[in-house]
């Protein structure tokens, strides 16, 4: 099954970088949707079937924490797998997000870390069971 992914970040360039990491991950990725803040992200969730959301924290209009609260409070989306991709380093804030069932990837991140967090949270595996070369060994750089 291919995962339909929603990427929510107020930085267009960061969304492109995350999408590139997803496309290179070797995981079965289907449609990728984008949103520039939590409010836009919730609108996408109302209109499209999404299997995984990657959400930044610090965003205008509606931040990532508020968006996650809305998602968990909605019967239709309460079990959606969520990974927070953020510069956040406060232990207490990360613990609060993890209590909401969200995975966490710290920026700047290594694409392999993102892939492993997705596999851990969703249970999906690589398309053909092999690691893509780009993700093997020490050749990959942090993003």
């Amino acid at each position: 099954m291919a995962l339909n992914v929603l990427v929510v970040d107020d930085s267009a360039v960061m969304r492109k970088m995350i999408i590139r990491s997803l496309q290179l991950s070797g995981l079965p990725i289907g449609r990728i949707s984008e949103a520039g803040n939590g409010r836009e992200g919730l609108e996408v969730l109302e209109q499209e079937w999404i299997d995984l959301a990657l959400i930044d924290i610090n965003m205008p209009v509606m931040n990532g924490e508020e968006m996650i609260e809305e998602i968990r409070g909605n019967e239709q989306t309460k079990d959606l797998p969520i990974i927070v991709v953020s510069t956040e380093s406060s232990e207490s804030r990360i613990e609060m997000l993890q209590k909401q069932g969200a995975g966490f990837v710290h920026k700047p991140f290594n694409p392999a870390t993102l892939r492993e967090t997705i596999m851990e949270l969703t249970g999906v595996t690589h398309d053909d069971g092999k690691m893509p070369e780009e993700f093997d060994g020490g050749g990959s750089s942090d993003f």
């Binding site: 930085s11 360039v13 590139r20 205008p60 406060s90």
Partner: protein, 162 residues
């Protein structure tokens, strides 16, 4: 002692972010060409929490488009990507990484979205004090990174365990 820690933490966060996210080659000893490069852009990220302040980055030379290409992974930039957006994201990541190193690791800070920094902004900041700055050579140009905090935050910072 606290100022040394701030200086070291800012330099470490800046180097890691420009190298790992921006994928740029760095040098700390500036060349003559880098010193003479013209100012290209300035951005800032403001933060609030146990203390408030601002992180500023000014780049000299042709840096912003290269950053945007490196981070997005595309040679041709699409119309929705502004070169300044990439510099703003660099500022955001440096700020998010440096604050827990100079404050308590459990402290929560709220960061604003990156914004262009203009001279009017800096003129209004009599109560802001710079606690650390870094100068990095970036390929054909350079970057100046400054961390400023609200003057009243000094006592809060001094109370953080070393």
């Amino acid at each position: 002692m606290m100022m040394e820690k701030c200086q070291k933490s800012l330099m470490e966060a800046a180097v890691q972010t420009f190298e790992d996210l921006g994928m740029m080659l760095l040098n700390e000893e500036l060349t003559d060409d880098q010193k003479e490069a013209k100012k290209e852009a300035s951005v800032m990220v403001t933060f609030s929490g146990p203390f408030s302040g601002r992180l500023e980055i000014t780049v000299f030379g042709e840096i912003t488009e290269k950053l945007a290409r490196n981070i997005s992974g595309s040679e041709e930039l699409s119309s929705d990507i502004l070169p300044l957006d990439a510099l703003g994201e660099i500022a955001n990541v440096i700020c998010g990484n440096v604050l827990p190193k100079i404050a308590n690791v459990r402290d929560i800070f709220h960061l604003t979205s990156p914004a262009p920094l203009n001279s009017e902004q800096t003129d209004q900041d009599a109560e802001m004090v710079m606690i650390a700055d870094s100068h990095l050579g970036l390929e054909d140009g350079r970057a100046e990174i400054k961390l400023l905090i609200d003057e009243t935050a000094g006592k809060t910072l001094e109370s953080v365990p070393q």
